[in-house]
Symmetry: C2
Subunit: 553 residues, 2 copies
């Protein structure tokens, strides 16, 4: 048995790059990308990626070099998901909603060699570069991406642009062979920052093997058949579009790329191209509902409303550290016989682990023992398997903390129901999820604390009709020496001041929409702020559709 050696014929590294070559060979006549008037077939996409990879190699991109990209869902960022790893480099897609300061922090940490920038984000990119030390600026090659159907703006120096790289990249058969010679499937393929604003952003490194297995798991979990038409409402910079960048190639599907996510844009593309699949954070569900003229009960949940529009919704749960979606709420046909309310309860559960995971469990945080499968005993959701991240870049402390006891600790608190479905009961304490983006409340608090008059600050989630959640700040100011009479006046002023200040120091989406001033914050005996009490207050505040604030009754 043991003398059966591995060889080239029976041992190939697992990498999603093979999906692209296969698509070009097996689906030569099918459309790979639709973007406005632009159309590519799979052989064209493969050719363009080979050319881009060849150009990257000619720019002396070496193994494990970081290549960053700042772009919305345009064809270029899709192509880079193949071309960059084909050249042996690591793709670092950046959240376009971050501010210059946050992106600069990522650059200082990731030390990319090349930055690709969508032309419409030029201002943000230049502002970011100004924040970098001269040497780092010099070492970073910036390449702009212009719209394919628009004349290229002439840059001052003879700057490279994206299409020029593709034109001049001529992959010889030997360079193509070199590109595919991934030595080790555990090599990194992508670097995704979970948060961009702290002085110490955390960069999640995922491997070829990890995304290969995750891509296949999404196909199976979603029961995505051959030739899907996939609409890119989910940003590709968000955890590589939950690996669907690669899954769509595996399925010979069509990527419908759109620059802006709006109801007219979504419905127009569904209509024109026969979209079969799309991913929606709750915000996009709201966009779908609000963009539709059907009159619907305000009491329904977004999922319910969207299903009534004819969409079939599959609830999934994931995290960047687990390389995307890891729990799928697999539907049992028997549940169709339940009353709608109960069906919604079933659908609200996060579900069962994907096939790529070796194990998923809910464990008591203290004893590390599995909780009983009773639907009520809470514990931390943990998982292990080859699809889990390699770790945090240059952060061994955070990595070993995440992987303690041999499991990835998600920080999410949940239960396991007797039928095997996992349900989250409490978000990892401080996270606010706004429009699908995780906001770490501590980061916002840190900014507030720097405001001269702020004595204490605590930020929690408050409900928001569009974004799902939005930050709400509770603030204790230093003792004022004014009389009580003008208090209300000051109150109003201060709220506007603080919000304005936050907008100057944080990405827009992270800024509190409401600041509540208190005499003191609720605390436990050890002086720890009781955020659940603040969350209860915040829940009674609602932001109306016209952006005014009201009290929920």
């Amino acid at each position: 048995m043991d003398n059966l050696a591995l060889c080239e014929a029976n041992n190939a590294p697992l990498t999603p790059i093979t999906f692209l070559k296969r698509a070009s060979e097996c689906y030569p006549n099918r459309t790979s990308i639709i973007y406005g008037e632009t159309r590519f077939t799979w052989p064209q996409t493969y050719d363009r990626c080979c050319r881009l990879a060849a150009s990257l190699l000619s720019l002396n991109i070496a193994k494990n070099d970081i290549v960053s990209v700042l772009a919305p869902n345009i064809p270029a960022i899709y192509e880079m998901h193949f071309a960059v790893p084909m050249a042996g480099a690591v793709l670092n897609p950046i959240n376009t909603r971050l501010d210059a300061k946050s992106i600069a922090a990522i650059f200082r940490h990731a030390q990319p060699k090349i930055l690709f920038v969508d032309r419409n984000l030029e201002t943000l990119a230049r502002a970011t570069l100004h924040l970098l030390p001269d040497e780092e600026q010099r070492n970073l090659l910036v390449i702009f991406i212009d719209e394919p159907d628009r004349p290229k703006r002439i840059s001052s120096n003879d700057q490279l642009d994206y299409e020029e790289l593709i034109r001049r990249g001529e992959p010889s058969s030997s360079s193509v062979a070199r590109m595919f010679r991934i030595q080790n499937e555990h090599d990194p393929i992508s670097l995704n920052y979970t948060s961009g604003t702290t002085s110490e952003p955390k960069g999640v490194v995922v491997s070829h093997r990890g995304v290969y297995l995750s891509s296949l798991s999404v196909i199976m979990g979603w029961e995505m058949g051959k030739f899907p038409v996939y609409l890119w409402t989910l940003p590709m910079f968000h955890c590589n579009g939950w690996n669907l960048t690669w899954s769509v190639a595996a399925r010979g599907g069509t990527n419908v790329c759109i620059r802006h996510v709006s109801a007219p844009e979504i419905y127009k593309n569904i209509e024109s191209h026969g979209v079969t699949h799309m991913c929606c954070v709750p915000t996009v569900l709201n966009i779908l509902v609000q963009g539709n003229s059907l009159d619907m009960s305000q009491r329904s949940k977004p999922v319910q409303k969207v299903q009534r529009l004819g969409f079939e919704v599959l609830h999934v749960y994931g995290l960047t550290e687990a390389t995307g979606a890891v729990l799928f709420c697999e539907w049992h046909d028997e549940w169709n016989r339940l009353p709608e309310k109960q069906q919604m309860e079933m659908k609200a559960r996060q579900g069962v682990g994907i096939l790529a995971l070796a194990d998923v469990d809910v464990k008591n945080k203290k004893t590390q023992e599995s909780v009983p499968r009773d639907g009520t005993t809470m514990g931390e959701i943990v998982m292990k398997g080859s699809s889990i991240m390699k770790g945090y870049l240059r952060n061994p402390k955070a990595t070993s903390e995440a992987f303690k006891h041999g499991w990835l600790h998600t920080g999410d608190i949940g239960v396991i129901h007797p039928d095997g479905h996992i349900q989250i009961k409490d978000r990892s304490k401080d996270i606010i999820i706004s429009g699908g983006e995780n906001i770490n409340s501590i980061e916002v608090e840190n900014v507030l604390y720097k405001y001269k008059k702020v004595l204490e600050a605590a930020v929690v989630a408050m409900p928001h009709p569009m974004w799902g959640e939005t930050p709400c700040a509770f603030v204790v100011l230093e003792k004022r020496k004014t009389g009580q009479g003008d208090c209300d006046d000051q109150f109003m002023t201060r709220e506007g001041d603080l919000i304005k200040y936050c907008r100057e120091n944080l990405p827009h989406f992270m800024c509190p929409k409401r600041v509540v001033f208190m005499g003191e914050l609720p605390k436990n005996g050890n002086g720890k702020i009781l955020k659940h009490k603040l969350r209860n207050i915040a829940k009674s505040l609602v932001i109306n559709d016209d952006n005014t604030i009201g009290i929920k009754h």
Copy 2:
């Protein structure tokens, strides 16, 4: 980058054993196995497998030991696909249609430690054991499997039986942990003999990693959604049931096990259990058609006939060396607009490579260069990837021959069409070379199949004094309802008729010079026609210089 080490949390060996544990946790209420009146749920199947594995460990089964099984598609052989590798051993399922001599040859080569035998195959097993030397007999522990619902026959000595092993196997948590501690995903999981009739059987060793990837590829190639109801018409001893043993667990499906494959049995089970999927070799397609009372045109091919019965047929191609099915004829909806005849031609193609393969190609046998994708230039179908076998057991010569130039050589001759689909034109050894012209025997057979009364046809080379070789056809006609008296008359007429018909439909040199009518064609246990036997018959027939036919002495 490089200091991100692999650890327990992010690096688990790929093994299909995880599918079973997952099914027991994620699908606790679903039926895993139906067999007559017997029913198991996934937690029960998991428990039974853990117990069996614990018992195997207590019998001192060590890593890489061979455990053979001689059984039809009963629950026990399904369970062994998990329990044997859980104990670190290698499963060797044996073709039950082989004779004692062939099985003894396998035992001498594989040297199994344990043989599980279905009670109904006791005679065959005992005849096999008698052919083994005394020492080998003593070293082989034989364990019988009785029907679950029938009283156990008392054996002479206090022999173990299968259910007894399950009863007494008590997996402690430490032994379960030990079972799952697969150290290396490249470890062997199964040993399948490709041919049991030669003096030197070839044992294909496949790995945990290989069958894991193949199992997932079958799910995706077949677009098999969650909770399939799978009818076991394909023997599990045949390449582990094309990995569906493991795929069904991955999908939380239901295995409908049947002991005998017959039309009433198949239709009854489809009716009772809502079967959604089954695998059919051409013989089983014929069983389906003949077992149905619908009157159908005799000119149709089996696939066409079966589709008219309401079955949707997906054509796949595979080989044991590639760990099962590797080409899937993925259907494009546009093809539904083609005339039925052309649709059948599309469906007859073997198709495109599965996702698990790193590459598939058709190469010129001499130059090893890829053939053009023109649908006409022939070459050998070759492939590479992690789902390919580890090699042939104790046969380094055959292994290195199969893997030469870094590819698995299938020995099948085919073309690649411009749309990427591969089509087999012939087995390389089945090519007939007549006067220097290559004759594709399958083409001749296809013409014969269109003749109204032909049920089965096989064309092989027969020696020819002028042309070297010439085609000889072996034909099975549909059952005639005439008396025996006129049989010879009909026979003579028919041979002339068929040859005349071929000359009207084929180039002259491709027409059979002789048609031999048979009651049935010689087949192996999997229903594959044994062309080498027909070639031996054909060799004994000679065409004399005056074009009359004689028998070689």
